[in-house]
């Protein structure tokens, strides 16, 4: 027998999902154990073993590989708990990471923060200026050496850093992605001076044009590489002691994986590790359900997260923003705003009602949690509107205080606006729904897609309660709410993921492109990927490669990733790429916006290497109900307010535990599903599918 284990560590819970080739599924949820997250990891494995009634050793002995989503690198960077790092860079260009291309003053901020220009600041610097050593050397845009590397001076600089006690040295020189010779030589010198010091070369990690992003990426990687190494090495050892023969793989922000052994060298690629689980899970569930185009929406406690699956694959971006620094690492595109269940409703100076982005967090939490929270939140509004039941929230583990919620809404929002508590709650609910819809539209339409071509997946604690509203706003007809055995959604995503590695390389060129040169670049990237896939310690049934070129009209700032067929490439293929680029461009920006006369530029080459495993865990099929009639799951009725045009309506309440495959119910209804609450509005219906997901049909009663 063989099995795959997914372990997803979040801030609050650690989820485990084990699937084997016999069709068995086992899930576990244990508390996370900061700061030593490894403990929670091992507890989750034990919990799986307990559920299976097996010993530690035999739990792990059948596991082909473990796929692990971790926040180790991200947490270290966000909290600033990073290794002491020195940077070697080209003389004259030390300040790139301080100037931050100016964008560092506002990158990653919301539009209203950006508008308040005078209040914007740059983040604290990545490292003190005196920890950056300028190296005498220079390479030009073609890779020619303009100034030879001054090794003696470099050695002095390296010694100074080592005397200063650095744990790691980052090396990022201009144009090193075209000619890495000087970076490689510097690595040798560092190794001579101090074997064992963690070294990160920009030409290894991120061989792409744009020195600001490349240097930030290299420095941050050096800051967290040792951290990740210190987390994964003992964990791997412990897992082996406990009988693991298979590999430990770490999830990357790109949705791919990297072996625990290689992960520290590319630590920065794991920063989206946990965020992307939902998108990858949706992609995989979508394959099962036949959905190629999916919008994923996840309302957690603090944030609302949106991702896209287009044509069966998550949408990537080539960089992300962290602490206002731009980091160049491919990431599944996850966009977020502070519109979670804990988002605080408030009145701005002009008396306008606003929701978020500030969150009440876990402490003090929403007013209805009965701690010290006095500010009204989205959760408080949902409670006052009857959407939440004070007794069944979070599987009944937390009793909610309706009076406190009412009072908060009335005093902070209602009184100043001349509304009562219920009207204030309705207003908060509407604004929450409108701004989440705006973000969804921005993500979907902003990338040139029509939301009506997508199904919407809604998960997280709050997604299922609000999705009917933001979904309808976008004209979406069907919403899938993954429940059943897929509720450890991210951990499930980890186990069903192919092993995907990516490699990128800049070699900017102007059109017409030299097909032979492009082919050479791709072949080089693919050879590297094949070797890395083989080093993962997983046996694949097949390995596939997907190629992309980033192309733009001359001197544009933004490139459009454009798929390229497999090689060997010909000039005709280059023309196809250009016409595909133009097609995608017009799709994104509208007919007639393309302008071939401006000429084309090729900026980056990118390849995804995909290793397919022998099996993927299957979700169990639920018993089919004898009839559609779901009345057996009715647990009562209550007054619920969903829509200001309808006001309060008596609404049926269903218990999810008693719903099964084939059941159908009509809105208005609410399904209480333990960790989440599903709202079915009037004129909509819901059915339960064979995996016990709930499907909302918004457009008519009988699909």
């Amino acid at each position: 027998m063989s099995a795959i284990l997914g372990i997803d560590i979040g801030g609050t819970f650690t989820d485990a999902f084990l699937g084997d080739d016999q069709g068995n599924i086992t899930t576990a949820k244990v508390p996370s154990t900061p700061p030593d997250f490894a403990e929670g990891f091992l507890n989750a494995v034990d919990e799986i073993g307990r559920k299976l009634g097996r010993s530690r050793e035999s739990t792990l002995s059948d596991v082909d590989y473990i796929c692990h989503g971790t926040t180790a690198a991200l947490n270290a960077l966000v909290t600033g708990n990073v290794s002491r790092v020195g940077l070697l860079t080209t003389k004259g260009h030390r300040d790139s990471i301080y100037i931050m291309n100016v964008e560092g003053r506002y990158a990653g901020l919301g539009p209203e923060e950006i508008q308040n220009v005078a209040a914007t600041r740059k983040p604290p610097p990545l490292l003190p200026k005196r920890m950056v050593k300028e190296i005498t050397e220079r390479v030009d845009y073609q890779g020619n050496v303009v100034v030879r590397l001054d090794e003696d001076k470099a050695r002095v600089a390296i010694r100074e850093l080592l005397e200063d006690g650095v744990a790691a040295i980052a090396v990022s020189l201009l144009w090193s992605f075209v000619n890495p010779e000087h970076e490689i030589r510097l690595r040798k010198i560092i190794e001579e001076e101090s074997p064992g010091t963690y070294i990160c070369l920009s030409s290894d990690l991120s061989p792409k044009i744009r020195e600001y992003e490349r240097t930030v990426t290299t420095v941050m990687n050096a800051q967290v590489g040792p951290t990740l190494r210190d987390y994964l090495a003992p964990l791997t050892e412990e897992l082996e002691l406990r009988g693991l023969n298979g590999a430990l793989l770490v999830m990357q922000g790109s949705g791919g994986t990297v072996s625990a052994q290689d992960a520290p060298a590319q630590a920065i690629t794991t920063i989206g590790s946990v965020l992307t689980g939902g998108v990858v899970g949706a992609r995989n569930l979508g394959r099962k359900l036949g959905h190629r185009n999916i919008i994923t929406s996840d309302i957690g406690g603090t944030t609302f997260l949106v991702g896209l699956v287009v044509d069966g694959e998550p949408v990537y971006s080539s960089s992300t923003t962290l602490n206002q620094f731009t980091v160049s690492t491919p990431m599944v595109n996850v966009t977020s705003i502070g519109s979670g269940g804990g988002a605080i409703a408030w009145l701005d100076a002009g008396g306008n009602l606003r929701v978020g982005p500030r969150s009440a967090g876990a402490r003090p939490g929403p007013a209805c949690f009965g701690r010290d929270g006095e500010e009204p939140t989205v959760t408080d509004a949902n409670l006052v509107l009857g959407i939440l039941d004070p007794k069944t929230f979070a599987e009944g583990t937390k009793r909610l205080d309706v009076d406190r919620a009412r009072k908060a809404l009335e005093t902070r929002i209602g009184a100043p606006l001349g509304l009562d508590a219920e009207q204030a709650a309705a207003a908060v609910f509407e604004i929450q729904n409108a701004q989440t819809a705006d973000l969804l539209r921005r993500v979907v339409v902003g990338q040139g897609h029509d939301p009506r071509d997508f199904v919407l997946y809604a998960f997280g604690g709050g997604g299922p309660a609000h999705c009917f509203a933001y979904g309808a706003d976008l004209g979406i007809k069907e919403i899938y709410i993954p429940l059943g055995d897929a509720n450890a959604f991210s951990a499930y995503g980890l186990t069903t993921s192919d092993v995907v590695l990516s490699a990128e390389l800049s070699n900017p060129a102007t059109y017409p492109f030299d097909a032979a040169r492009v082919e050479r670049q791709f072949a080089e990237l693919e050879a590297g990927l094949t070797a890395r896939l083989e080093a993962q310690g997983v046996s694949f049934t097949s390995i596939g490669m997907r190629r992309q070129l980033d192309i733009r009209y001359t001197a544009q700032m933004f490139e459009v990733p454009t798929p390229v067929g497999s090689g060997p490439l010909t000039d005709a293929d280059m023309d196809t790429v250009i016409s595909d680029f133009e097609h995608t461009y017009e799709q994104m920006f509208g007919h007639g916006t393309g302008y071939a006369d401006a000429g084309f530029q090729l900026i980056n080459h990118r390849v995804f290497g995909i290793g397919s495993t022998a099996f993927t865990p299957e979700l169990p099929i639920a018993r089919k109900a004898e009839s559609e009639d779901a009345r057996g799951a009715l647990s009562g009725t209550r007054r619920v307010f969903l829509d200001s045009r309808r006001g309060w309506e008596v609404t049926a309440i269903y218990d999810y535990a008693r719903l099964t495959h084939g059941h159908r119910l009509e809105g208005p209804a609410i399904v209480e599903a333990g960790t989440t609450t599903v709202v079915v509005p009037r004129d909509a219906s819901a059915q339960v599918d064979s995996l016990r997901n709930i499907i909302l049909h918004l457009d008519d009663r009988r699909p």
Binding site: K91, G92, H93, R94, Y98, I99, N101, V102, E103, Y106, P111, E112, I114, Q115, V117, A118, T120, R121, K122, P128, R130, R138, D140, Y141, V146, V147, I209, E211, E213, A349, G350, G351, N352, L353, R354, L417, L419, A426, A427, E430, I431, A434, D438, R441, R442, V445, G446, P508, T554, A555, Q556, M557, F558, G590, G592, T593, Y595, D597, A598, G599
Partner: protein, 655 residues
């Protein structure tokens, strides 16, 4: 230098028009959607939802324009903007890009309504192109705006507009800035509003007439499409909004948003004591060969919740540093938005109702045709912003509730260097060196100015990477860095500026260069409350440098002295050639300081020295702070040094 007036040109000089003035002259076949909707109730909830949508729409339009554009000044510097207005052109929402640019959108729309409604008519699907700074829509001829009337139910419901700086729109000099211009006929000729899109289709005859004048017609044509695309996107989204909420509601929210911005600004102004504040901002040299300094004089009077900007006494128009009234108008808004309106809806249509302006035609920032105005955006319009910022900050400094918004003048001008020629790929190029976007911000009453921060009226400015510059232009950058001691000293230090040094590299031909920018001899980036100005601008052309030999020998020069050759100090307005072997060094302006530098916390000075923001020498001579070798403060020596600085000041006053 006097220019010969052109009779009949007055018709192109826009002024703010009242709704009545606009309505009076409109033909019957162009009904305006009613804006007095007192009967239409909008509950707070709907107001908030629609208001958010309007914000999202301009955001989306701007994002689309930026992604489609091919000009670095648009994609990187964000030298563009978009706006949504009501039927009369009152701006409901501007995008957070270059707020200087959109300020005069309303003036241009008023002009179009008064001058284009009969002939050629204003129809659904039309878009008007305008590059006439007297009409508005931009500050100089490079700012090409595209206005799109938006109809609902056969009535003119509002307008969307997209405006962007185009790198070259013709004229005597590449880049369309002509330092030796004697009048506007030496520059790109202004193009008053012309219907370039009819029924949603770009008219190729009109497009040709427009792009034919440019040295880079392809890029200009690409950007035209970017603007068309942005306007179309805006229209689609507004139409959706109307479908969902009905037209009356949307129009009423547009009106309420302007009223809300106005009311909140009035409330803020009412808390501040009434008073009068003054500022003078100088620019030296108005054109090649000029040796004068030219002053913009401002007296700001605040009464209740009204602001009166009186520019009486400003020097006469001169050379090519002038701007039109639209530049003056934009100059005021671009200081008011960041200082007073950071947390208000960006609805200039409401904000400007608190403002009255007095200005004499024929002066630097209210130039009359045919004065040269090609540099207006970064010359007199920017200098206007400096003066307005200085006055507003003095005003804000008088009340505790507004003190935290105080900001000394930021980088006070644009260090312009346009380079043009053939690039290393054999193609023609013309671009502006964009690094001066990394100006220092002025210090506030409680914080240092942000280093290499950008420009306050371009919230999302950006400079490209050195590698991108070297890929697209035939230049090699010897350095690009923050400059020690460039931030204006003060109790709170102004933000540092930076410098670059570049040399022609693989350039098949000499590089033609236009150099322009004041603030070399006079400080435009003044400090406040005893704070010093930021560093002045300085450009140096090192002719026949030793750079090539040094590089070949394995050395990377990092100072002008190491470069050898003959350093030349270009004046403010010049055209020249950058030859193989020349190195061009640019250092732009830092932000002004706030408060007396000898009151700065010595520990902050020590930290600045450690981080290379302040030199040891300046720490001692300017801040009166003495450090020992390990960057720690020597308290006794510091106390003595500061006393000596004060004594010296007393002596100078008495002596």
């Amino acid at each position: 230098m006097a220019v010969t007036p052109v009779p009949g040109s007055e018709i192109f000089a826009s002024r703010p028009y009242t709704n009545e003035e606009i309505r009076t002259d409109l033909p019957e076949h162009l009904p305006l959607y009613p804006t007095d909707l007192s009967g239409v109730e909008v509950d707070p909830l709907t107001y908030e939802v629609v208001r958010n949508r309007i914000f999202a729409i301009t955001d989306l339009m701007g994002d689309a324009l930026r992604r489609m554009s091919g000009s670095l000044v648009v994609t990187d510097c964000n030298d563009f903007d978009v706006a949504l207005t009501d039927p009369y052109g009152h701006i409901v929402q501007v995008g957070p890009y270059n707020t200087q640019l959109v300020a005069s959108i309303g003036l241009a729309i008023g002009w179009i309504l008064r001058n284009r409604a009969d002939n050629p008519g204003i129809e659904p699907g039309d878009m008007f192109l305008c590059s006439d700074p007297w009409v508005g829509g931009g500050l100089h001829q490079n700012d090409v705006a595209l206005f799109a009337p938006l109809f609902h139910d056969g009535k003119l419901f509002g307008w969307t507009a997209a405006v962007a700086h185009q790198l070259d729109v013709g004229g005597v000099s590449p880049g369309s800035w002509t330092p030796r211009a004697e009048d506007v006929f030496w520059e790109s000729l202004p193009m008053p509003p012309i219907k370039v899109v009819r029924g949603g289709v770009i008219q190729c005859d009109v497009e040709d007439a427009y792009v034919r004048r440019s040295r880079i017609p392809k890029l200009v044509a690409l950007d035209l499409r970017a603007k068309v695309g942005a306007n179309k996107l805006g229209h689609e989204r507004i139409a959706e909004l109307i479908r969902k909420f009905d037209a009356d509601t949307v129009q009423q929210v547009m009106q309420l948003q302007m009223r809300d911005a106005e009311q909140r600004l009035r409330d803020r102004l009412a808390t501040i004591p009434d008073g009068t504040w003054t500022a003078v901002n100088h620019q030296e040299q108005s054109h090649t060969g000029d040796r004068e300094a030219h002053a913009i004089r401002l007296k700001l009077t605040k009464t209740g919740s009204d602001l009166l900007f009186d520019f009486t006494g400003t020097d006469e128009q001169s050379g090519m540093i002038n701007c039109t009234f639209t530049g003056l108008y934009g100059g005021i808004i671009s200081a008011m938005m960041p200082l007073l309106c950071g947390d208000l809806p960006w609805a200039p249509g409401g904000i400007m109702r608190c403002v009255d302006i007095i200005s004499e035609p024929g002066t630097l920032n209210n130039a009359t045709f045919p004065a040269a105005v090609g540099k207006g955006s970064v010359a007199s319009s920017w200098a206007t912003t400096n003066a307005v910022m200085e006055c507003l900050s003095q005003m804000l400094d008088t009340h505790p509730s507004t003190r935290s918004s105080v900001a000394s003048v930021c980088c006070g001008s644009w260090d312009l260097s346009i380079v043009a020629g053939l690039n290393q790929h054999g193609a023609p190029f013309a671009t502006s060196i964009l690094e001066p976007m990394a100006g220092g911000f002025g210090a506030g009453s409680d914080h240092d100015g942000v280093d290499t921060a950008g420009l306050p009226f371009i919230p999302m400015g950006k400079v490209p990477d050195v590698e991108m510059n070297e890929f697209t232009t035939p230049l090699l950058y010897l350095w690009r860095r923050e400059e020690t001691d460039s931030g204006g000293p003060g109790r709170y230090r102004g933000g540092l500026s930076g410098s670059v040094a570049f040399t022609p590299y693989h350039s098949p031909a000499p590089i033609y260069q236009v150099i322009s920018g004041s603030g070399k001899a006079v400080s435009m980036n003044r400090g406040l409350a005893g704070g010093h100005p930021g560093a002045a601008q300085e450009d140096i052309a090192v002719r026949g440098s030793d750079a090539a030999e040094l590089l070949a020998r394995g050395e990377l020069p990092s100072t002008v002295a190491e470069l050898g050759g003959t350093p030349e100090f270009p004046s403010n307005q010049e055209e020249s050639l950058l030859q193989q072997g020349d190195v061009y060094v640019m250092r732009w302006q830092g932000g002004g300081g706030y408060g007396d530098p000898v009151l700065r916390d010595p520990e902050l000075v020590a930290a600045d020295v450690r981080e290379l923001k302040v030199s040891r020498d300046a720490a001692r001579t300017v801040y009166g702070v003495v450090l020992d070798d390990s960057f720690t403060v020597n308290a006794a020596a510091t106390a003595a040094c500061r006393e000596a600085v004060r004594a010296d000041r007393r002596n100078r006053v008495q002596g």
